[in-house]
Symmetry: C2
Subunit: 262 residues, 2 copies
């Protein structure tokens, strides 16, 4: 497994700084996740959030995305909030969840706006919410504000059985900031930490996934997203600790796993 | 002045298609704007929305942005929603407005989320709202849905004296789609049409600004944003019909106008 770019000592130091900043803060307990099965041609699809978040995507594009997700049995489709009702209707009575995004892709809107967006998505039937953390506040060391922002979304999602993934936007962060963000997300009750929006200056890197897994331990999900386009890349992310893959070409990844495509 | 890339006949045809799609739709009447004065070293600052929308911007970065805007007397600062209260406090008792963004930068969230975001921004003291249109719906020809989305934000902004700029994200659109988007925004009561988020595949182009001005006529504002970094570029945009310039280096543009910087 890839080594994370911070020593256990450095990780522990960052965790203590975050713990100090969060004193008196009471988040929500993380949900336990079972350890991931080894992925092969039959199981790789269940790792994939089949994703279309481009602003110019039309209802027809979303319909095709859902049809493919249904065919392959992906974990979810991940679509922009406006398309949640369409995706929920298209995927009713299938094992494919509907995932949407919150405060996406900058994470710089208000907590109130994020909560509203989450609530509307839950009302419409989404069961997974990928929210972007308040990146600038994290970089400024304002850990409590970042945690409160996440906990507010977790607070509406968990009572309704939905899961929250916190997008860190790792390409904008140092390893120290990635580790701090993981501890903050965990303390705030997030179910997953996730690398990237796909709209930042870079996507998922194996070393960042390894660092995130080292930081959150075994009980949180880690989602690698942004630039994961092949089965080989997906396997490397999973070996480093990812339990979910965000990809716009989930069908291609599965066909590669089955040896049907190069 | 730069010629727009569509003939008057083509424009008229698109306007009729939009009118047909909007039959029975009652938006809000556009606010008249006075014709822009010719910009020089003394007046160019009043064209500029001094802008910082990067997700990693910290409160310190926002403080510096506001101090510069105060010094130069820009039309506004444009910041992400989370920073509106800070900017309003920093710019109290100055002529600099606080502008924020809505549904930014993808425009693909729900109308409800956009309205909530607008409401919170207005409550916090913002007086200009740059909202992203529902790009994918515009491309699908769903003009009424796009207009309803805009009118919902206009409906909360106008009663409180705030202005709404509709970001088209021109780099994702054909000239025909840009023209249609202008007619839709105008019908929905927008105060400005605006080229770009700065997060799309391209920024403001002179020919797009000329087309937007030709489409909306004299009574709406046109904001050129995305990649406008020099006084010369700003003048070209204004000559093509822009009445507002979004720029992250407003101070540099003014210094160039004053001959204090190359």
């Amino acid at each position: 497994m890839t080594q994370p770019p911070l020593t256990p000592d450095a990780l522990e130091r960052i965790r203590r700084a975050v713990d100090d900043a969060l004193q008196g803060f009471h988040g929500f307990a993380p949900l336990p996740l079972e350890p991931p099965p080894p992925p092969g041609p039959e199981t790789i699809a269940r790792y994939i959030d089949h994703t279309l978040l481009k602003p110019e995507a039309t209802p027809d594009d979303i319909a095709r995305l859902c049809a493919t997700a249904r065919e392959f049995g992906f974990a979810s489709v991940c679509v922009n909030p406006r398309f949640v009702p369409q995706a929920v209707a298209a995927l009713r009575a299938t094992p494919v969840a509907v995932c949407t995004v919150v405060g996406f892709p900058l994470g710089a809107t208000t907590t109130g706006a994020k909560v509203h967006e989450a609530q509307e998505a839950l009302d419409a039937g989404a069961t997974e919410l990928d929210m972007v953390q308040a990146v600038g506040l994290l970089k400024a060391g304002l850990y409590r504000a970042v945690a409160e922002d996440i906990a507010a979304v977790v607070g509406v999602a968990h009572p309704r059985g939905a899961r929250v993934k916190v997008i860190l936007e790792t390409a904008l962060l140092t390893p120290e900031e990635i580790a701090a963000a993981c501890f903050v997300a965990q303390a705030a009750g997030a179910d997953f930490v996730k690398t990237s929006t796909g709209f930042g200056p870079g996507g998922a890197r194996v070393e960042d996934v390894a660092l995130m897994r080292a930081a959150v331990g075994p009980n949180l999900g880690v989602k690698a997203s942004g630039g994961v386009r092949t089965y080989e890349q997906a396997l490397a992310m999973i070996a480093a600790g990812a339990t979910r893959i965000g990809a716009s070409a989930g069908d291609r990844i599965v066909r590669q796993a089955q040896g049907r495509e190069e």
